[in-house]
Amino acid sequence: MKLQYYPGCTLYTKAKPLNTSLHACFNAVGIELAELPHWYCCGTTFMLARDNRMSLIAPLRILAKAQQEDGKVLVPCSICYNTLKRANYMLKENTEVLDIINEHLEESYDGNEIVLHPLEFFRDNEELVRSKVKKSLQNLKVGCYYGCLLLRPQQEIQFDDPEAPTIFENFISSIGATPIDFPLKVECCGAYLVVNSPDAAVEASYKLLRNAQDNGADVVVTTCPLCYYNLDALQGKMKKAHPDFKEIPIFYFSQIMAIALGMEEKKLGLEQNKVSPYEILKEYNLL
């Protein structure tokens, strides 16, 4: 079976491990990811420019192009997912804007393309995932961190409950690991503040990692490339600010899944992790 997918810019640059491990996972469950031809940036700053019709052009062109290929498109990056889904919602609600942009672009998009996140796909195909698990991750306690963009604003995204989501925990149990629930799993990691006020991002990320550790997590798993960067690469600074902080490895959900499916190490992209994940994986005999 083929599934259409839109990688977005980060999956080819900063978030390469997400891309390679996701491909490996989907191949393992018998699905080939077909990349959307001639794709470009989704616009990313959708959430900062609601009034601007121009910012809806990039998402609309992607959605229109995707619709020509297939009725649904898989979007692994949380930021692209948020942008495309919110744009889709807006275009569907406000047909006037849709008509104007369609006219300018000579597209005929109707707002009906389904934007799908890999977690939603795995939720709908849980049995398929369960049947492919080769390694037991039972002892690994995984903190499930959602971040903001997959959940909020709920009315427009409709991914899961914005305060107490469970889709990630269910996914982690379906691949055989032990999910850890922690109160700050939906809290912000500091996001773009890492550019202008890095200290704010360090504090925000520290707070939620600490919360995950206090609740017993061995590792923290996330879906968003920006969260991944903040949680992983800022741990050096967190240690400087809080000397008693113990480093904790961060994974993409697809990396953990690839480990459970028994993929070879080079498909995981673990070498890009700033905080070494090898010790904990060796401790539980997962490598």
Partner: protein
């Protein structure tokens, strides 16, 4: 202390007219947004409720010149928890747009606008980048994109951003307040 003598009664009505500003009047000050805000944990002085309250009171100078306006990370935690259903992040954004219009644009954005005007790009393409593209088998790219620069010019945003604040800034910024408090 708030001196309402300087308050501008039109300020809230003007803000409501901006895109994203229409929820403003619904606020009853429960402070759920401030309690949810992750930035507030880091810096107590950032407070979405305070911004909204000051806007409703008409404290135009205080609101528009406040550097804290620009701290929002758009995590939408406030939007989700607001019992009145206000899109708080969008509302803050509307006030930001207003601030730029009135000549209170942060320096970092002015620099970015300058790059857009000169090059039509946010990142300057240098020989290093061209070499890198060549190595990857990509065609060379233009160093400037005049069309984008033209669009930026038509939007008039540079004129707004570089204009002087229209209201004389009588606002004591928070740092000087803090110094005063420390002295006392």
């Amino acid at each position: 202390m708030i001196d309402l003598k300087n308050a501008d009664p039109h300020f809230k009505w003007e803000t409501i007219k901006k895109e994203g500003g229409k929820g403003l009047l619904k606020c009853f000050g429960c402070s759920d947004c401030a309690a949810s805000c992750p930035v507030r944990y880091f810096d107590e002085r950032y407070n979405p409720r305070k911004i909204i309250r000051l806007t409703l009171l008409g404290m135009k100078n205080e609101v528009l010149s406040s550097p804290f306006l620009w701290f929002c990370a758009h995590c939408h935690a406030c939007t989700e928890r607001c019992p009145q259903g206000i899109m708080v992040a969008d509302l803050i954004n509307a006030i930001k747009n207003y601030a730029v219009e009135q000549g209170y644009c942060p320096e970092a954005y002015k620099l970015q606008l300058d790059l857009l005007k000169r090059l039509g790009r946010l990142y300057e393409v240098e020989d290093f980048d061209l070499k890198k593209r060549q190595r990857l088998g990509l065609p060379p790219t233009d160093k400037t994109i005049p069309e984008v620069a033209k669009i930026v010019e038509y939007t008039n945003i540079i004129k707004y951003a570089n204009s002087k604040p229209q209201v004389p800034n009588t606002n004591q910024d928070d740092s000087s307040c803090q110094e005063k408090m420390e002295k006392e």
